[in-house]
């Protein structure tokens, strides 16, 4: 794909690259539009225009208006943007790294590990030493989920790395084994759980942005931002890797360095995303595919475009989740699955028709 055989190919490649750059701009505007939408819409009867007018004229907002816009909708919007971008970018990087269109961040054990961490915090929360619990407060689950995600990634990485070389295939297989182990430990803990804890677990598993707060945004935002900056620079290397690991090395790509960066970027981004929002499925796997269908597989633009589209879709899904059964709320994982699964099938079918796979 990045071969330089002939000027025709090259110009086509550049066209695609340019299309990708154009898509950056279009998607950024779309994200801004969707953000405005998400601030304006919700079950509470607060007019965004009235609030804008009040802010312009320096008038005081009522405490209800202030809380709904600045303490509920804005942190939710920011958290949704971060989480959506993190999941989609992680998916794009993983699919590039494993050269497998079905790869998602779950493959390197993050989801299973984070899930286990969350279950430990929910079920055994009572026996965690008081001082740790009091420092973390409401964020006990977030902290443990993040810890669990990182721990499994580190274990997988060390299992799959021999003499400074990480075997992607070993990582994939060990990931399955470790996922099963985490599942088994989770099962034991679920057995110990009481029914309230079981319900908490169910809701955690379905994912939600309803718990968004400024504290979560200030923790997740910078971390995900840094991960995105790192991920965006992996594009060239991942393009080379598409030709195979040996070829990529011959072209002059430091493959081990690339793998390290890719794995730990994804671990950071997904780890924190899962920790703050629970199990939100399908964004990581569907969004990169959508972007590939629309603009092509060049990783130099695919990664950022996936991030933007992921953010757009998750923010939209969140708007739906809070208005569809208002004043109650539908867990966002249900909505992403309802949207994601048919889209995924559509991609599969259209690919088969074109004979790509």
């Amino acid at each position: 794909m990045i071969s330089t055989e002939g000027s025709k190919n090259k110009s086509m490649l550049n066209d695609r690259y340019r299309a990708g750059r154009r898509a950056h701009i279009i998607l950024t505007f779309a994200l801004l539009l969707v953000s405005g939408f998400s601030l304006a819409i919700g079950p509470a009867d607060v007019s965004i225009w009235l609030i804008l007018k009040k802010l312009m004229l320096n008038e005081l907002l009522t405490s209800l208006e202030y809380i709904i816009i600045f303490d509920i909708r804005l942190p939710r919007l920011l958290l949704g943007t971060c989480v959506g971008a993190a999941l989609a970018i992680s998916g794009a990087v993983m699919q590039g790294l494993f050269r497998n269109p079905l790869a998602d961040p779950g493959l390197i054990g993050i989801s299973a590990g984070a899930g286990l961490g969350a279950i430990i915090a929910i079920v055994l929360g009572g026996i965690i030493p008081g001082f740790i619990a009091s420092i973390l407060g409401n964020y006990l689950v977030v902290f443990f989920a993040f810890l669990g995600g990182w721990a499994t990634t580190l274990i997988l990485y060390s299992v799959a790395t021999r003499r400074g070389q990480t075997s992607v295939a070993t990582m994939l297989l060990a990931g399955i084994a470790l996922g099963a182990l985490a599942g088994a430990i989770s099962g034991i803990l679920v057995y110990r759980a009481n029914d309230q804890q079981l319900r908490d677990l169910t809701f955690w598993g379905l994912g939600s942005l309803a718990g968004a707060s400024w504290a979560k945004v200030t923790v997740a935002g910078p971390l995900i931002g840094i991960a995105i900056l790192f991920a965006a620079r992996l594009g060239h290397g991942l393009n080379a890797l598409a030709l195979g690991e040996a070829t990529a090395a011959h072209i002059g790509v430091a493959t081990q360095n690339l793998k390290n960066k890719a794995i730990f970027t994804v671990a950071a981004a997904t780890g924190i995303a899962v920790a703050v929002s629970g199990g939100i499925g399908f964004i990581g796997i569907v969004v990169p595919h959508l972007v590939r269908q629309l603009i092509g597989p060049d990783h130099r633009t695919l990664i950022l475009n996936s991030g933007l589209l992921g953010a757009i879709i998750l923010v939209l899904a969140d708007v739906i989740s809070r208005i569809i059964v208002a004043p109650a709320e539908l867990p966002i994982g249900i909505i992403t699955a309802v949207i994601g699964a048919p889209v995924f099938l559509w991609i599969l079918l259209s690919n088969r028709r074109e004979g790509n796979w």
Partner: protein, 301 residues
């Protein structure tokens, strides 16, 4: 403050106009906040009720006209299920509740999540948690706490006394039963062939005891999956289940054909009792009648 006032009131008003105006402002603010607090006390007319038994108690106290919304577990009485539903009590969304513009939230213990409660208290909407207990005292305590939250203490005491009498009556009838006590197994679900049964310290355990029966499982707390052998060892005389869709008696065949249950005395006599979940396990105003109904179902033969 007191010194300040007394100095001024002793006729030697020496302060500058600025000081005096501040003083007057203070008095004004104090009095207005007093009036405000007082008027607020009477205006708690937009109440959100979280928890099925809490809602029932509010209806029992005849304060239902003050309700603006309820949670998804509040399904009785019928009028309650017509109210807007703010979601499941443990997954409440702050904006959903705020959109109902409430000035009081009364919630069963365990409602949450904490982030939502924090936000609601920030807008200074009182969020009152009502303690939960699976005994007669627990129910009385609930009624008194709800009454206190609504500012109708005397009415609550009256209702509590009435319900206390009903419960004592129901319990003493259960205690007077002279025949052999039956062993009851409460099954929460049989999904995937696994039996999720109630141990001790649950609402099911409470109601079984109050109806004069024995919980067949006493080796663990809460609801847990039972192995087939444990079911056989527990040897229940009666199976108790919730009926969520009002399908009385359905599913009995299937249940008794499960290998673990087919060996129990309950399967021999085909003894299955199904009752509405909120009625049976709510521990609210209808519990006395639930006790009586369960006891009659248990010991009618």
């Amino acid at each position: 403050m007191k010194n300040f006032i007394s100095k001024r009131l002793h006729g030697k008003i020496k302060g500058t106009p600025f000081e005096i105006s501040i003083f007057i402002l203070c008095i004004f603010l104090l009095s207005s906040s007093y009036v405000y607090a007082d008027s607020k006390r009477q205006e708690l007319d937009k109440v959100v009720s979280i928890g099925g038994s809490i809602t029932e108690i509010i209806y029992e106290l005849e304060e239902a006209h003050r309700l603006v919304a309820r949670d998804s577990t509040s399904t009785y009485p019928r009028a309650a299920s017509m109210l807007p539903d703010v979601g499941y009590m443990r997954a409440l969304s702050p904006e959903g509740i705020l959109s109902m513009d409430p000035n009081l939230i009364i919630a069963e213990e365990g409602s949450g999540p904490q982030e939502t409660i924090d936000l609601l208290t920030q807008v200074s909407i009182p969020f009152i948690k009502i303690s939960d207990g699976y005994t007669r005292q627990g129910i009385i305590q609930k009624i008194l706490e709800v009454g206190d939250a609504l500012g109708v203490n005397t009415k609550a005491e009256k209702v509590a006394a009435k319900i206390n009498a009903e419960l004592m009556d129901a319990e003493s009838k259960s205690n007077q039963y002279s025949g052999k006590r039956k062993k009851v197994l409460f099954i929460l679900s049989t999904r995937g062939g696994k039996i999720l049964a109630s141990g001790t310290n649950t609402a099911a355990d409470g109601i079984i005891k109050m109806a004069g029966a024995i919980n067949a499982i006493h080796s663990f707390n809460g609801y847990k999956p039972l192995s087939d052998e444990a079911v056989t060892v527990a040897a229940p005389d009666v199976i108790l289940m919730m009926d969520r869709r009002g399908d009385h008696g359905s599913g009995g065949e299937e249940l008794f054909s499960m290998p673990s249950i087919s060996t129990t005395p309950a399967a021999e006599t085909k003894s299955l009792i199904r009752m509405n979940g909120l009625y049976l396990l709510g521990f609210g105003p209808r519990t006395a009648s639930a006790i009586n109904e369960l006891r009659e179902e248990l010991y009618s033969d």
